[in-house]
């Protein structure tokens, strides 16, 4: 079974993140991802960057991944 830590490692390997947190039960996962790569990108393009990092694992090992994708500025504003 896939663990949230594995998903974090896969995302980290393909996308440079300022902050990353994945939680889940092995089937459904929730991720908060903060990356400078999201700047000037619409939501679809941001999610696609994450899907790209996960590659074929999205088809096979991960049933459902819910995500929030934020730029460092948006993340700071949210936590400010």
């Amino acid at each position: 079974m896939v663990t949230p830590q594995q998903i974090e490692a896969w995302i980290h390997a393909g996308l440079s993140c300022d902050f990353l947190r994945v939680e889940g039960d092995g089937h459904h996962f929730e991720a908060v991802i903060v990356s400078p790569a999201f700047r000037d990108k619409l939501l679809v393009a941001r999610h696609q960057l994450v899907y790209q990092a996960l590659g074929d694992r999205m088809k096979a090992e991960i049933h459902a991944l819910s995500m929030q994708t934020l730029t460092p500025e948006e993340w700071q504003a949210r936590n400010g």
């Binding site: 939501l43 679809v44 999610h47 696609q48 899907y51 999205m58 088809k59 459902a64 991944l65 819910s66 995500m67 929030q68």
Partner: protein, 106 residues
């Protein structure tokens, strides 16, 4: 017709298309249920929905069509809008309502 041709025709002939698991009345996945509920909350009572569980070709085809690995998928005026997370964010910011209103007005 190939799956890609079928999908292209579906999204270009209907202003709002939702590819989902199950139907709006009987969704078979929580994310698909959310997506259908969001459209209803936006005042879109009737929309063209495709149950991907009825066709593996469409289910896999639509993932390739938008380069998007998950279901549900929303298309408005032929454009891929996103999956259920994006629909929720756009709904909360009011953008989805605007997009749908414009699409259904003309």
């Amino acid at each position: 017709m190939s799956a890609q041709d079928i999908i292209r025709e579906q999204v270009s002939t209907h202003p709002v298309v939702l590819y989902m698991k199950g139907t709006p009345q009987f969704p078979q996945c929580g994310f698909s249920a959310n997506a259908a509920a969001i459209l209803k909350a936006c005042g879109v009572g009737e929309f063209f929905s495709v149950n991907v569980l009825e066709s593996n070709e469409i289910r896999e085809g639509v993932k390739a069509y938008a380069n998007w690995p998950t279901i549900p998928q929303l298309y408005v005026k032929g454009q891929f809008v996103g999956g259920s997370d994006i629909m929720r964010e756009l709904y909360q910011s009011g953008e989805l309502q605007k997009l749908l209103k414009t699409a259904l007005a003309n």
